[in-house]
């Protein structure tokens, strides 16, 4: 568990320098995937860097598992945490395998164990170990480099994974694929992941908790659902994007959750695990009123009716706050 208590930080020495962080308190529970989001200058990156002490708070404390980090040896602390940055920062003079193996080497693992770990991680990220292990970073595409970057951060089996705008420089298709991989790894390993992004869709897709910052202050902390349905103020609503809140809400819920237990109809099919957003898209594409849902094995799993999607009684689990109208 990571705990920020009344953390403030100012860059520069002049009295009127804006505060990068202004009295921030935050708890990040173990196993969460917390997304720090905000515009530029909101302090999101500074907050992340305080977790591995790349930045120091001027006042306030940051504690890891109840222990104030100021008293922890810096090196051990960083070895316990994986760190991924937007520009990847692979060591260009080392092979992919050696890059991934750097933290295990520093931890004193045996060579066989390191080799096994490298193979395991490369396979996890769909990179053939015999092909990619001996390559140099400049021989990889941008997406492959960031895969290796994440693999390197995970190599030492860290308790916490810190990601500073990890996919900001990648094109949308590759970004989506990597987001899926991070989500998969998070669900499989149960590691605490803290990620910085400025992309609200990425935050909604990945986060179990979203922390929205503005000018060094926390504006709202909550689940994606809470952020969408109960934005704390006008700024949050603006940031999320007022015009497509409904569509974004739909993307948080699976098609299966609104399934009616009925016999299959002569309508298009959709996996039950797909989001309601995809369901709307499919309905609109085919100009029909209902969809047959399929479970993972391809068996029939009920029918989704368009009327249920737009019926407040069924979407009642996503209450839209009443004050939403005042801002509109």
């Amino acid at each position: 568990m990571i705990e920020f208590a009344n953390v403030s930080k100012t860059y520069g020495h002049t009295a009127d320098a804006p505060k990068a962080l202004d009295d921030v308190s935050l708890r990040i529970g173990s196993g969460e995937l917390v997304v720090l989001i905000g515009g530029s200058g909101s302090g999101k990156s500074t907050l992340l860097k305080m977790i591995n002490r790349m930045e120091q708070p001027d006042t306030g404390t940051v504690a890891l598992d109840g222990q104030d980090m100021v008293h922890m040896p810096l090196r051990e602390l960083r070895l316990r945490m994986g760190y991924v940055i937007q520009s990847v920062g692979l060591f260009p003079h080392w092979t992919v395998a050696r890059n991934i193996g750097v933290v295990p080497t520093m931890l004193g693992w045996k060579p066989e164990r390191i080799a096994a770990r490298v193979t395991e991680l490369l396979s996890l990220f769909d990179l053939d170990p015999t092909t990619y292990g001996p390559r140099y970073p400049h021989q990889l595409s941008g997406g492959q480099q960031q895969r290796v970057g994440v693999a390197r951060a995970l190599a030492g089996d860290p308790e916490v994974l810190l990601m500073d705008e990890p996919f900001g420089a990648l094109d949308p298709l590759i970004r989506t694929a990597l987001q899926d991989e991070v989500k998969r790894i998070h669900q499989a390993s149960g590691k605490t992941i803290v990620m910085v992004t400025h992309d609200i869709d990425e935050a909604l897709r990945l986060g179990t908790q979203i922390v929205l910052l503005e000018q060094g202050r926390i504006v709202q902390v909550g689940s994606p659902l809470a952020l969408l349905s109960q934005p704390a103020n006008k700024q949050v609503a603006d940031f999320i994007g007022r015009s497509d809140v409904g569509i974004k809400l739909l993307s948080l819920q699976s098609a299966g959750s609104l399934a009616r237990v009925e016999a299959p109809q002569s309508t298009p099919f959709l996996p039950a695990s797909a989001s309601l957003r995809e369901a709307v898209s499919t309905l609109a594409l085919h100009g029909c009123q209902s969809l047959n849902l399929l479970d993972d094995t391809g068996a029939h799993a009920g029918v989704l009716h368009a009327t249920d999607l737009f019926n407040r009684r069924h979407t009642g689990s996503l209450p839209l706050s009443d004050d939403q109208g005042q801002h509109a």
Binding site: Y83, I85, S87, L90, F91, V102, M106, Y136, H138, G149
Partner: protein, 247 residues
């Protein structure tokens, strides 16, 4: 293409070394050749000292001054790029850029009033002048290491020493090496001129020949010292290919 067994036959460095050796050992036996080229000269081959000895002294002078320059220059370059010495970096850089507008021969000449004639002023001048490209190469090389790489290294928990030895050092190596190469090549030439301040080097036949109107001496000294520079440069070229991580 040559078969792998005979690949060494295509090694230019090997041939250059052999040619240098042939020159050094063969020149004393080339009386007939130079006598026919320069019929008006009484003594067409330089014999005051054997060429082997001159070569050895030349290499020793450049090697000793080069070693001092590389050691001091590298340490200074590393020091001013660490937090402890960062404040001195502008001064050092100003000194280096000012120093490089001085011609090496002027440094040599200025060393004489300071320490007198002989090997010592040559050694000091060569070491001092040789410092400049080494310091510059070290700073430029360390400076060129990409910021994200350093950030990643710090974030992963590499200690400052590990970072320098495993990441910054190897990455700065090519630029550093080209600084050392410049330093050594300049000093091979300056060491030749150092025979004017009393050091015995491969420049001696040239200077003796110039002052005695013996073009044959000049030619012999020039060929050997030119070949030495080419050999050393090729050696650095070979080394540069080895440390180049950006294959």
């Amino acid at each position: 293409m040559l078969k792998p067994r005979y690949a060494w036959l295509g090694d230019k460095l090997l041939w250059a070394v052999l040619l240098l050796a042939a020159l050094v050992f063969g020149l004393p036996h080339s009386e007939a050749l130079f006598a026919s080229l320069f019929p008006q000269l009484e003594r067409p081959v330089y014999r005051q000292e054997p060429f082997t000895q001159l070569l050895w002294q030349h290499v020793l002078l450049v090697g000793a001054s080069g070693a001092a320059a590389v050691l001091v220059g590298t340490l200074a370059g590393i020091w001013v790029t660490r937090p402890a010495g960062r404040a001195f970096r502008p001064v050092l850089e100003t000194l280096v850029s000012m120093g490089q507008t001085l011609p090496p021969v002027a440094v040599l000449a200025l060393a004489v009033p300071a320490v007198g004639f002989g090997e010592l002023p040559a050694l000091i001048a060569l070491a001092l002048y040789g410092l400049l490209p080494v310091v510059q190469g070290t700073i430029t090389g360390l400076q060129a290491v990409a910021a994200p790489v350093l950030q990643a290294a710090n974030g992963m928990g590499l200690s400052p020493w590990q970072r320098l030895r495993q990441v910054e050092g190897p990455l700065a190596m090519p630029v550093w090496l080209s600084g050392v190469r410049t330093s050594v090549i300049i000093n091979i030439g300056t060491a030749a001129i150092a025979s004017t301040v009393g050091a015995k080097t491969l420049g001696s036949p040239i200077i003796v020949g110039l002052s005695g109107f013996n073009t044959a001496y000049v030619l012999q000294g020039a060929v050997v010292v030119g070949m030495l520079a080419v050999v050393v440069d090729m050696g650095f070229e070979r080394l540069a290919r080895r440390v180049d991580w950006a294959h």
